[in-house]
Symmetry: D2
Subunit: 436 residues, 4 copies
Amino acid sequence: MKGLKIAVIGGGSSYTPELIDGFIKRSKELKVNEIYLVDIEEGKEKLEIVGSLAKRMILKAGLDTKVILSLDRRSAIKNADFVLTQFRVGGLKAREKDELIPLKYNCLGQETTGAGGFAKALRTIPVIMDICKDIEELAPNAWLINFTNPAGLVTEAVLRYTKTKVIGLCNVPITMKKTTAKMLDVDENRLKMEIVGLNHLSWARKVYLDGDDITDKVIEMNLNSDELNMKNISNLGWNNIQLRSLRMIPSPYLRYYYMTDKMVMNEKRDVENGSGSRAQKVIEIEKQLFDLYKDERLDVKPIQLEQRGGAYYSDAAVSLISSIYNNKKDIHTVNIKNNGAITNLDDEVVIECDAIVDSTGARPITHGRLENEIFGLVSIVKSYEILTAEAAITGDYGKALLALSTHPLVPSIDIAESILNDILRENKEYLQQFKE
Amino acid sequence: MKGLKIAVIGGGSSYTPELIDGFIKRSKELKVNEIYLVDIEEGKEKLEIVGSLAKRMILKAGLDTKVILSLDRRSAIKNADFVLTQFRVGGLKAREKDELIPLKYNCLGQETTGAGGFAKALRTIPVIMDICKDIEELAPNAWLINFTNPAGLVTEAVLRYTKTKVIGLCNVPITMKKTTAKMLDVDENRLKMEIVGLNHLSWARKVYLDGDDITDKVIEMNLNSDELNMKNISNLGWNNIQLRSLRMIPSPYLRYYYMTDKMVMNEKRDVENGSGSRAQKVIEIEKQLFDLYKDERLDVKPIQLEQRGGAYYSDAAVSLISSIYNNKKDIHTVNIKNNGAITNLDDEVVIECDAIVDSTGARPITHGRLENEIFGLVSIVKSYEILTAEAAITGDYGKALLALSTHPLVPSIDIAESILNDILRENKEYLQQFKE
Amino acid sequence: MKGLKIAVIGGGSSYTPELIDGFIKRSKELKVNEIYLVDIEEGKEKLEIVGSLAKRMILKAGLDTKVILSLDRRSAIKNADFVLTQFRVGGLKAREKDELIPLKYNCLGQETTGAGGFAKALRTIPVIMDICKDIEELAPNAWLINFTNPAGLVTEAVLRYTKTKVIGLCNVPITMKKTTAKMLDVDENRLKMEIVGLNHLSWARKVYLDGDDITDKVIEMNLNSDELNMKNISNLGWNNIQLRSLRMIPSPYLRYYYMTDKMVMNEKRDVENGSGSRAQKVIEIEKQLFDLYKDERLDVKPIQLEQRGGAYYSDAAVSLISSIYNNKKDIHTVNIKNNGAITNLDDEVVIECDAIVDSTGARPITHGRLENEIFGLVSIVKSYEILTAEAAITGDYGKALLALSTHPLVPSIDIAESILNDILRENKEYLQQFKE
Amino acid sequence: MKGLKIAVIGGGSSYTPELIDGFIKRSKELKVNEIYLVDIEEGKEKLEIVGSLAKRMILKAGLDTKVILSLDRRSAIKNADFVLTQFRVGGLKAREKDELIPLKYNCLGQETTGAGGFAKALRTIPVIMDICKDIEELAPNAWLINFTNPAGLVTEAVLRYTKTKVIGLCNVPITMKKTTAKMLDVDENRLKMEIVGLNHLSWARKVYLDGDDITDKVIEMNLNSDELNMKNISNLGWNNIQLRSLRMIPSPYLRYYYMTDKMVMNEKRDVENGSGSRAQKVIEIEKQLFDLYKDERLDVKPIQLEQRGGAYYSDAAVSLISSIYNNKKDIHTVNIKNNGAITNLDDEVVIECDAIVDSTGARPITHGRLENEIFGLVSIVKSYEILTAEAAITGDYGKALLALSTHPLVPSIDIAESILNDILRENKEYLQQFKE
């Protein structure tokens, strides 16, 4: 059993303790020699704080895994078995802009969906391209496990423009499963949810308990409860008639599409009444988390981390790594090349769906056609993603304008132009690909 | 050369003189024995006025075609060679509601696009289904030439739910070609425009003059001119960067999608300042037209008809009939089953594109893949159309809600629900398929 | 844990002890209340012999499963959880004809491939249609596990013309895996073979050992060994250049396509020199087996059964049943609706490939495009299968002629006609669907 | 009206007078300044004979078109508007080998179909690649009109491996139409035949007379007549039941697939009884033709040329050129990129079907799905073609073996290997791409 080298890009993230916790929990099945936590100069202080906690956690767990803190990405990637990307270009300050700029134009301001996600993609994709170049040179057999958001779009760019072996990961599917199991008060393993679509644009088409179809029952539960949601999403109730006709359970993120008006109104209200944007709230939470992390007596993942909004990421990521490493042939919901899994989407686009994972990687399970009720929305968002990936790489202003205006939550070409201009001006230092 | 029997459903329409004019102009190549102008009881007066004019026109032209006015649709259809549908369920009063209801919710109120077109489809499809039943029983070899709007959606319903041989027709493609020829000051026959998409959602991907690609030139002309438009559409200028990056010429109707905010604002302003909705303007125009038509001295198509907004319909329709009748093998832009013409849409959906027309009907020419810049929008509107056709036929409220909320110009499920409820209430007599 | 009712159609088969053995081996995970062994009047004696052995085996194993021998198919199917089909219409006598008729015309005479398989399909499909009617009426939730050959074609007919839930099964994929593991001297579970294609027309495109691609190595081993074969197939060596260029491991059955001339020559030689057709050999083996089975002291599966040629069937079948019953989510190679798994075949055709099996059934894993080197052959054989299914059901002579002449091992329409006429004449009693 | 420059590669062919005749007949609509007849050193004598005749024909017709005889291909191609390829690598001597080698192994020996066509493709494709390089450098806007056989496979190679604008042409579709019109004794223009498939592997799926479906009638006529055939194909009668069930009219070349045994027997008999292979007959015919051509008094196309077997080539070619030149928008049956025309073949493969031709080139008309009765055969031959194109370009022996063994008229891998070895040995000088 060969020990692994893991490189974590964005290692100074507040999420890192969860990841370390994930490796600790699976240490019997997953021998890790080295974990490189890599960050950039600006993140050095946070890296040191969270890195020290990581070391204490490993020590406490009695493992001999080495945790190395580094600002040198290339040495971290060199000969790595897995490269995990959880970085955030521009930090939470940039996220705040992503949330506030669209709101100026009464458009959704959200980290991954709509114009905010677009801005994040423009900043992120050039960096992930550089990382892929490093991987192809220094660790060509490594798997890139990407959680950097917008995870689907970033994975689309990697698959379209590099040769890096990549799997995109998100905590939404696993959260949907865990929450549904909790609502039903059953063990998660008895439950099967057929979740399919794109990242942050997916639906559970069927839910089975021990093989029995309980989809309608779970829909009714969702109509009467607000449990199935993510920490970062306004918890508006679903439209009863819609869900009963649709006969699927939408991902919590679908609220941004189905209830756009109210979601934008809530965001605006929060900003106006001083509650702040989600980024501002997260800045506060992060501050508290890092204060906690500094405590030298802390040597386990603090429970407060779960409020942060990224629950189950580590579980999904480390479990995926273990399936590859141990040739498990089990099922994970991942972002991956379609390859026929959804028959009415192109073979080469990235989708989010169940896949079999073993030592050769992930292969999607077939899901057939998307229904007309969801196909159109998936198609237009996928078109937006492909155009955005192209704009992010070429730095072509016109292409970026077409990309943004294609997004269904951007209501006109004029508003797209205004938002794009604001994004380019406010993110100048991170968007060097767009020449003046 | 066998003489034809033509049945015109909605024969009392103000457009009829244009149609008659079309038959007169082509009388050498197209021998017509009988033209049945059919209408319903409520339209009797208009039928008699326009029918008398039609008879005078035929007389003046020296033809022996019989014009028969009738309220009996079945006798008109019996053994007909071509059935032309240009009826309007609920008349212009219903159109006015279609335009005003969505505006209440700050949504586009338009005859064919968005929630207004949705309402019109719900009213129209049950009637066209009845007509198809009559055709299949009484004239199974007849061609149904449909111009009733929303023409693409209605044709989709006919192809999906009947066995009637149908071709859908619209004056937008022919208007785009004629106007472009006029802008270029060249003969229309030297020009080739590759127009493709859905009805009222199409783009000229390429324009050729004598085989030379002049697409970019025509784009620049459109950026500097407002000639390429329809009478019924606010003539907002296109976004320069958008069009130059897109490198296609959008149909005038694309303004509703690209400049939704301004288009809605203009509509609201017109209603608020007393200019009225488009329907109100058309009611006025129609009144004037029928006053003209009453004049017993009038025996030609009056020039004022061209203001009505439906220019070139007759030209398109009679020219199409002649191509079928005369086995011409020439090209028409029609609404027709895709059958591979657009490779990234399903084979069985109705698209609008160039087709070869001969005595066996219309066969589309291949157009390859729609580009990402337009594919997503086409996909979501086509999904909306298929769902709407299903809702119109089943009368299923939930399906209707999903259909309407799928339309990209309807911003949320709640607004969809409000609009749908208004539509059902205000159109009760025409929407018997929706049970209480 | 609910106990199962299993119905075995063709229960008097010499294979039955293997099936019983499979249930015994998995008795801890698979609680079976009743096994109905069903046969027809002509098979009564064999049913009683093998049924008695089955009962002795169950007794010896200390299980309380009831084994019921029956000539009443409907009572066996009623409320069954699984219906297993392993019957042979016309018995080995009909198989002998299937083998000898084509040989008269210098064509391959083989039970499942070519004209022999065609004849078997014509006899079998009407019977399986009847069984499916019974299942839909008497046990609508039952799974039909079909091994009756030609297994792929029969499954195609069931999926195309009934609503029965069906999975087709064959011992070739499992044999390929087991034999390769044996050749490599490694545990089977460390090996992954990506086997894809149609039943008896499949290739292992990739072989992995612990995740390392060892395809080329396995190809070399196959070029130097004759281990990877089935008992019933002449063991001719592969063409070295072909296999090295193809870079896949063909199923042993591919010999019939790649070395048609030699395979036919061998068959003719065997018949001429008195060794007899394969059917004649099997008749002899069966006789010996039933003599063994009669021995009241025998209460386990006799080792001689393995010579019969159907090794691993029971393993595959019972293992599949257990995966459904226990919601295992593990991988089986099965015959199943394509649904996008092979992107260049139609979604609705039956293919043979890896699928995830759980309590909701089997869902194929995506396999992408078939390479040009194998796609054409798969396409033409699949066309043959679809046409044959249609001919078997309609009894249309012309359709049957087109079907048979489509098969790549039938060299001309005239030979197809001669063979078809012989088949119809020699199988008259089983081919009532073909009217005079 | 700009005058054209035409380059004819293989200008010394005995067909050239037909081509010149075609230009003369269309001289009013097609102004040709220069016709370059190009050949290689070995063909110089024939070039001079046929070139002199061409000049006399032009003179007689009173045209001022210049006919230039040249061995310098590049100067002929430079700035040409159309490049016509009708060359034959290795001449009729090589054709004779193509016909005789496969016969040694009881396989079809035919110029375009089976192993003979394979050998011709291997010789031809490297030369056409060189021509395309010249065109891309010296006349990038030129259209390549290819008749060099195997025309479909050569066009496939050009479309797959070059950027040259190409249309492949064959006289089979036009011959089928003309002969059918003659059999029916009607004007060709009243007839529509929907011919679709691959080059030399096509079917008329429907025949219409003035828009009425007369397919069944034409099938009966074909069953009772041998008129619909090509000069070079043994005129065996069709199988009645097959054609009536198929309900299509097969191209005469389909005899090679449907009656392989008899066709091979006829070929063998001809060779054995001294009638010689088709090549030998053509050598004799050519000798006689060139004797005729030498006659200085001859200044028109001699009627004897029609026996040569290539009737209507010139008509098809010059008519196609005229449609492009005159922006005619009429229909030609051509070899062209599928692009969705046949929905169950890949978009990028070359098919033979009806296309609209205008100054921008040829765009196929949609034909929908190929029926199962013909789809499999088309698929396997298309797979063979793609593999052969790849083998011809790479000179990879293994790929060539896989290509040849994929052809449905090559019965086993061993025979493929023997034939391939003979081909490589006998064509050494023309197959430099295959290294020792």
